[in-house]
Symmetry: C2
Subunit: 157 residues, 2 copies
Protein backbone atom coordinates (compact mmCIF):
# COMPACT_ATOMS: atom_id res chain seq x y z
CA UNK A 1 0.00 0.00 0.00
CA UNK A 2 1.79 3.10 -1.16
CA UNK A 3 -1.30 5.20 -1.49
CA UNK A 4 -0.99 6.31 2.11
CA UNK A 5 -1.88 9.93 2.69
CA UNK A 6 1.00 10.92 4.92
CA UNK A 7 0.67 14.08 6.94
CA UNK A 8 1.49 17.41 5.31
CA UNK A 9 3.90 19.76 7.04
CA UNK A 10 1.06 21.78 8.45
CA UNK A 11 -0.72 18.70 9.74
CA UNK A 12 2.49 17.29 11.12
CA UNK A 13 3.25 20.52 12.93
CA UNK A 14 -0.13 20.60 14.64
CA UNK A 15 -0.06 16.94 15.58
CA UNK A 16 3.52 16.93 16.82
CA UNK A 17 3.35 20.16 18.73
CA UNK A 18 0.21 19.05 20.49
CA UNK A 19 1.80 15.77 21.48
CA UNK A 20 4.97 17.37 22.72
CA UNK A 21 3.01 19.97 24.62
CA UNK A 22 0.98 17.33 26.35
CA UNK A 23 3.94 15.21 27.24
CA UNK A 24 5.75 18.12 28.80
CA UNK A 25 2.72 19.71 30.40
CA UNK A 26 1.57 16.51 32.05
CA UNK A 27 5.04 15.93 33.35
CA UNK A 28 5.31 19.42 34.77
CA UNK A 29 1.92 19.21 36.45
CA UNK A 30 2.63 15.81 37.92
CA UNK A 31 5.94 16.99 39.30
CA UNK A 32 4.46 20.13 40.78
CA UNK A 33 1.66 18.18 42.44
CA UNK A 34 3.96 15.55 43.84
CA UNK A 35 6.43 18.11 45.14
CA UNK A 36 3.82 20.40 46.72
CA UNK A 37 1.36 17.92 48.10
CA UNK A 38 2.51 14.34 47.69
CA UNK A 39 -0.48 13.57 45.47
CA UNK A 40 -0.21 12.00 42.05
CA UNK A 41 -2.29 13.35 39.22
CA UNK A 42 -4.67 10.38 39.37
CA UNK A 43 -5.05 10.93 43.12
CA UNK A 44 -5.86 14.54 42.44
CA UNK A 45 -8.58 14.00 39.88
CA UNK A 46 -10.24 11.32 41.95
CA UNK A 47 -10.33 13.63 44.95
CA UNK A 48 -11.60 16.54 42.86
CA UNK A 49 -14.62 14.60 41.66
CA UNK A 50 -15.27 13.06 45.04
CA UNK A 51 -15.11 16.28 47.01
CA UNK A 52 -17.52 17.87 44.56
CA UNK A 53 -20.22 15.79 46.23
CA UNK A 54 -21.63 17.24 49.41
CA UNK A 55 -21.16 13.92 51.21
CA UNK A 56 -17.85 13.09 49.52
CA UNK A 57 -19.19 9.69 48.63
CA UNK A 58 -19.83 7.94 45.33
CA UNK A 59 -20.37 4.49 43.97
CA UNK A 60 -17.34 3.20 42.13
CA UNK A 61 -19.11 2.87 38.80
CA UNK A 62 -20.40 6.42 39.13
CA UNK A 63 -16.96 7.77 39.81
CA UNK A 64 -15.54 5.77 36.91
CA UNK A 65 -18.14 7.26 34.60
CA UNK A 66 -17.46 10.78 35.85
CA UNK A 67 -13.75 10.34 35.21
CA UNK A 68 -14.15 8.42 31.97
CA UNK A 69 -12.03 5.64 33.43
CA UNK A 70 -12.39 1.91 33.11
CA UNK A 71 -13.65 0.15 36.17
CA UNK A 72 -10.49 -1.84 36.66
CA UNK A 73 -8.33 1.23 36.59
CA UNK A 74 -10.46 2.89 39.21
CA UNK A 75 -10.52 -0.21 41.37
CA UNK A 76 -6.72 -0.31 41.43
CA UNK A 77 -6.44 3.42 42.01
CA UNK A 78 -8.94 3.43 44.85
CA UNK A 79 -7.17 0.48 46.44
CA UNK A 80 -3.89 2.39 46.39
CA UNK A 81 -5.53 5.51 47.74
CA UNK A 82 -7.25 3.55 50.48
CA UNK A 83 -3.84 2.19 51.49
CA UNK A 84 -2.75 5.76 52.06
CA UNK A 85 -6.02 6.65 53.80
CA UNK A 86 -6.99 9.27 51.23
CA UNK A 87 -10.32 7.50 50.74
CA UNK A 88 -12.06 4.54 52.27
CA UNK A 89 -14.41 1.97 50.84
CA UNK A 90 -17.81 1.09 52.27
CA UNK A 91 -20.27 -1.66 51.47
CA UNK A 92 -23.45 -0.67 49.70
CA UNK A 93 -26.68 -1.86 51.32
CA UNK A 94 -29.08 -1.32 48.45
CA UNK A 95 -26.95 -3.24 45.94
CA UNK A 96 -24.84 -5.86 47.58
CA UNK A 97 -22.44 -6.11 44.63
CA UNK A 98 -21.57 -2.47 45.05
CA UNK A 99 -19.30 -0.28 47.11
CA UNK A 100 -18.91 3.36 47.93
CA UNK A 101 -15.72 5.35 47.84
CA UNK A 102 -15.67 8.00 50.53
CA UNK A 103 -13.16 10.81 51.00
CA UNK A 104 -11.48 10.76 54.35
CA UNK A 105 -10.58 13.89 56.24
CA UNK A 106 -6.98 13.22 55.27
CA UNK A 107 -8.05 13.14 51.62
CA UNK A 108 -9.96 16.36 52.04
CA UNK A 109 -7.02 18.10 53.62
CA UNK A 110 -4.74 16.84 50.86
CA UNK A 111 -6.88 18.14 48.04
CA UNK A 112 -7.48 21.47 49.74
CA UNK A 113 -3.77 21.89 50.16
CA UNK A 114 -2.99 20.82 46.62
CA UNK A 115 -5.63 22.63 44.60
CA UNK A 116 -4.40 26.25 44.75
CA UNK A 117 -0.91 25.35 43.61
CA UNK A 118 -2.22 23.10 40.92
CA UNK A 119 -4.58 25.70 39.51
CA UNK A 120 -1.84 28.29 39.67
CA UNK A 121 0.40 26.01 37.64
CA UNK A 122 -2.30 25.31 35.09
CA UNK A 123 -2.67 29.06 34.74
CA UNK A 124 1.01 29.79 34.57
CA UNK A 125 1.76 27.13 31.99
CA UNK A 126 -1.41 26.98 29.96
CA UNK A 127 -4.46 29.15 30.54
CA UNK A 128 -2.71 32.46 31.03
CA UNK A 129 -0.56 31.97 27.94
CA UNK A 130 -3.53 31.91 25.62
CA UNK A 131 -6.12 34.46 24.61
CA UNK A 132 -9.81 33.81 25.17
CA UNK A 133 -10.29 33.14 21.48
CA UNK A 134 -7.41 30.69 21.50
CA UNK A 135 -9.03 28.91 24.41
CA UNK A 136 -12.30 28.72 22.54
CA UNK A 137 -10.56 27.48 19.41
CA UNK A 138 -8.95 24.70 21.38
CA UNK A 139 -12.19 23.70 23.03
CA UNK A 140 -14.01 23.70 19.71
CA UNK A 141 -11.35 21.58 18.08
CA UNK A 142 -11.22 19.16 20.99
CA UNK A 143 -14.96 18.71 20.87
CA UNK A 144 -14.85 17.94 17.16
CA UNK A 145 -12.24 15.29 17.79
CA UNK A 146 -14.26 13.86 20.66
CA UNK A 147 -17.22 13.58 18.32
CA UNK A 148 -15.03 11.60 15.93
CA UNK A 149 -14.05 9.31 18.77
CA UNK A 150 -17.68 8.61 19.52
CA UNK A 151 -18.37 7.44 16.00
CA UNK A 152 -18.11 3.73 15.54
CA UNK A 153 -14.77 2.65 14.11
CA UNK A 154 -14.87 1.87 10.40
CA UNK A 155 -14.62 -1.75 9.30
CA UNK A 156 -10.90 -2.53 9.26
CA UNK A 157 -9.61 -2.09 5.70
Amino acid sequence: MDDVRWLTDREERAWRSLQVMHMRLDGALARQLAADSGLSYPDYVVLVVLTDRPDGRMRLFELAAALGWEKSRLSHQVARMADRSLVKKEKCDSDRRGAYVVVTSRGRRAIEAAAPGHVATVRRLFVDRLTPSQLDAIADAAELVLAALDEPAPRPR
Copy 2:
Protein backbone atom coordinates in the same frame (compact mmCIF):
# COMPACT_ATOMS: atom_id res chain seq x y z
CA MET B 1 -5.35 31.26 50.87
CA ASP B 2 -8.69 32.12 49.37
CA ASP B 3 -7.33 34.50 46.79
CA VAL B 4 -6.94 31.66 44.34
CA ARG B 5 -7.89 32.54 40.79
CA TRP B 6 -9.93 29.47 39.92
CA LEU B 7 -10.61 28.79 36.27
CA THR B 8 -13.48 30.55 34.57
CA ASP B 9 -16.01 28.49 32.63
CA ARG B 10 -14.30 29.30 29.38
CA GLU B 11 -10.89 28.36 30.72
CA GLU B 12 -12.25 25.23 32.32
CA ARG B 13 -13.89 24.16 29.09
CA ALA B 14 -10.67 24.49 27.11
CA TRP B 15 -8.56 22.75 29.73
CA ARG B 16 -11.00 19.91 30.36
CA SER B 17 -11.85 19.24 26.76
CA LEU B 18 -8.20 19.11 25.84
CA GLN B 19 -7.48 16.65 28.59
CA VAL B 20 -10.40 14.43 27.78
CA MET B 21 -9.52 14.53 24.10
CA HIS B 22 -6.00 13.44 24.83
CA MET B 23 -6.98 10.66 27.13
CA ARG B 24 -9.39 9.21 24.63
CA LEU B 25 -7.24 9.83 21.57
CA ASP B 26 -4.17 8.23 23.07
CA GLY B 27 -6.20 5.26 24.10
CA ALA B 28 -7.71 4.85 20.66
CA LEU B 29 -4.34 5.14 18.94
CA ALA B 30 -2.70 2.69 21.30
CA ARG B 31 -5.47 0.17 20.80
CA GLN B 32 -5.38 0.52 17.02
CA LEU B 33 -1.62 0.07 16.95
CA ALA B 34 -1.65 -2.91 19.24
CA ALA B 35 -4.46 -4.59 17.35
CA ASP B 36 -3.04 -3.99 13.87
CA SER B 37 0.64 -4.51 14.47
CA GLY B 38 1.41 -5.65 17.97
CA LEU B 39 3.43 -2.51 18.64
CA SER B 40 2.85 -0.23 21.59
CA TYR B 41 2.88 3.51 21.09
CA PRO B 42 6.32 3.85 22.67
CA ASP B 43 7.59 1.09 20.39
CA TYR B 44 6.18 2.96 17.45
CA VAL B 45 7.75 6.33 18.16
CA VAL B 46 11.13 4.79 18.87
CA LEU B 47 11.02 2.96 15.57
CA VAL B 48 9.87 6.05 13.69
CA VAL B 49 12.85 8.07 14.82
CA LEU B 50 15.28 5.24 14.33
CA THR B 51 14.14 4.34 10.83
CA ASP B 52 14.44 7.98 9.84
CA ARG B 53 18.20 7.44 9.87
CA PRO B 54 19.64 5.89 6.74
CA ASP B 55 21.55 3.35 8.81
CA GLY B 56 18.79 2.85 11.36
CA ARG B 57 21.28 3.41 14.14
CA MET B 58 21.57 6.00 16.88
CA ARG B 59 23.29 6.53 20.17
CA LEU B 60 20.92 6.17 23.11
CA PHE B 61 21.39 9.73 24.29
CA GLU B 62 20.73 11.03 20.80
CA LEU B 63 17.53 9.05 20.53
CA ALA B 64 16.47 10.23 23.97
CA ALA B 65 16.99 13.84 22.93
CA ALA B 66 15.10 13.34 19.67
CA LEU B 67 12.16 11.88 21.56
CA GLY B 68 12.34 14.27 24.49
CA TRP B 69 12.59 11.29 26.84
CA GLU B 70 14.66 10.81 29.93
CA LYS B 71 17.57 8.48 29.55
CA SER B 72 16.24 6.00 32.04
CA ARG B 73 12.94 5.72 30.28
CA LEU B 74 14.66 5.03 27.01
CA SER B 75 17.01 2.53 28.55
CA HIS B 76 14.08 0.51 29.88
CA GLN B 77 12.16 0.82 26.64
CA VAL B 78 15.08 -0.24 24.49
CA ALA B 79 15.73 -3.21 26.76
CA ARG B 80 12.16 -4.38 26.31
CA MET B 81 12.31 -3.84 22.57
CA ALA B 82 15.57 -5.72 22.35
CA ASP B 83 13.90 -8.64 24.14
CA ARG B 84 11.40 -8.76 21.32
CA SER B 85 14.11 -8.29 18.68
CA LEU B 86 12.69 -5.04 17.39
CA VAL B 87 16.06 -3.39 17.96
CA LYS B 88 19.45 -4.50 19.09
CA LYS B 89 22.14 -2.79 21.09
CA GLU B 90 25.76 -2.47 20.01
CA LYS B 91 28.84 -1.26 21.80
CA CYS B 92 30.27 2.06 20.75
CA ASP B 93 33.95 2.05 19.89
CA SER B 94 34.62 5.77 19.95
CA ASP B 95 33.07 6.25 23.41
CA ARG B 96 33.26 3.18 25.51
CA ARG B 97 30.54 4.33 27.90
CA GLY B 98 28.15 4.49 25.01
CA ALA B 99 25.91 2.20 23.03
CA TYR B 100 24.03 2.24 19.78
CA VAL B 101 20.46 1.20 19.24
CA VAL B 102 19.98 -0.37 15.84
CA VAL B 103 16.73 -1.32 14.16
CA THR B 104 16.54 -4.95 13.21
CA SER B 105 14.86 -6.18 10.06
CA ARG B 106 12.02 -7.36 12.27
CA GLY B 107 11.70 -3.84 13.65
CA ARG B 108 11.71 -2.41 10.17
CA ARG B 109 9.02 -4.76 9.00
CA ALA B 110 6.93 -3.96 12.06
CA ILE B 111 7.04 -0.21 11.56
CA GLU B 112 6.39 -0.47 7.84
CA ALA B 113 3.37 -2.61 8.54
CA ALA B 114 2.12 -0.33 11.31
CA ALA B 115 2.62 3.12 9.86
CA PRO B 116 -0.13 3.28 7.22
CA GLY B 117 -2.83 2.23 9.66
CA HIS B 118 -1.54 4.55 12.30
CA VAL B 119 -1.46 7.57 10.01
CA ALA B 120 -4.90 6.71 8.73
CA THR B 121 -6.19 6.65 12.28
CA VAL B 122 -4.53 9.96 13.13
CA ARG B 123 -6.27 11.38 10.06
CA ARG B 124 -9.62 9.82 10.77
CA LEU B 125 -9.71 10.90 14.41
CA PHE B 126 -7.81 14.16 14.40
CA VAL B 127 -6.30 15.77 11.33
CA ASP B 128 -9.20 15.33 8.97
CA ARG B 129 -11.69 16.66 11.51
CA LEU B 130 -10.07 20.07 11.63
CA THR B 131 -9.66 22.86 9.13
CA PRO B 132 -6.20 24.11 8.16
CA SER B 133 -6.71 27.21 10.24
CA GLN B 134 -7.74 25.13 13.21
CA LEU B 135 -4.58 23.09 12.81
CA ASP B 136 -2.51 26.26 12.72
CA ALA B 137 -4.30 27.64 15.75
CA ILE B 138 -3.52 24.49 17.69
CA ALA B 139 0.12 24.52 16.68
CA ASP B 140 0.45 28.20 17.58
CA ALA B 141 -1.13 27.65 20.98
CA ALA B 142 0.97 24.57 21.67
CA GLU B 143 4.13 26.47 20.85
CA LEU B 144 3.19 29.26 23.23
CA VAL B 145 2.67 26.74 25.99
CA LEU B 146 5.96 25.06 25.16
CA ALA B 147 7.67 28.39 25.49
CA ALA B 148 6.15 28.76 28.95
CA LEU B 149 7.48 25.33 29.86
CA ASP B 150 10.95 26.39 28.86
CA GLU B 151 10.92 29.34 31.23
CA PRO B 152 12.44 28.64 34.60
CA ALA B 153 9.85 27.84 37.25
CA PRO B 154 9.10 30.73 39.61
CA ARG B 155 10.35 30.54 43.19
CA PRO B 156 7.78 28.48 45.10
CA ARG B 157 5.59 30.92 47.01
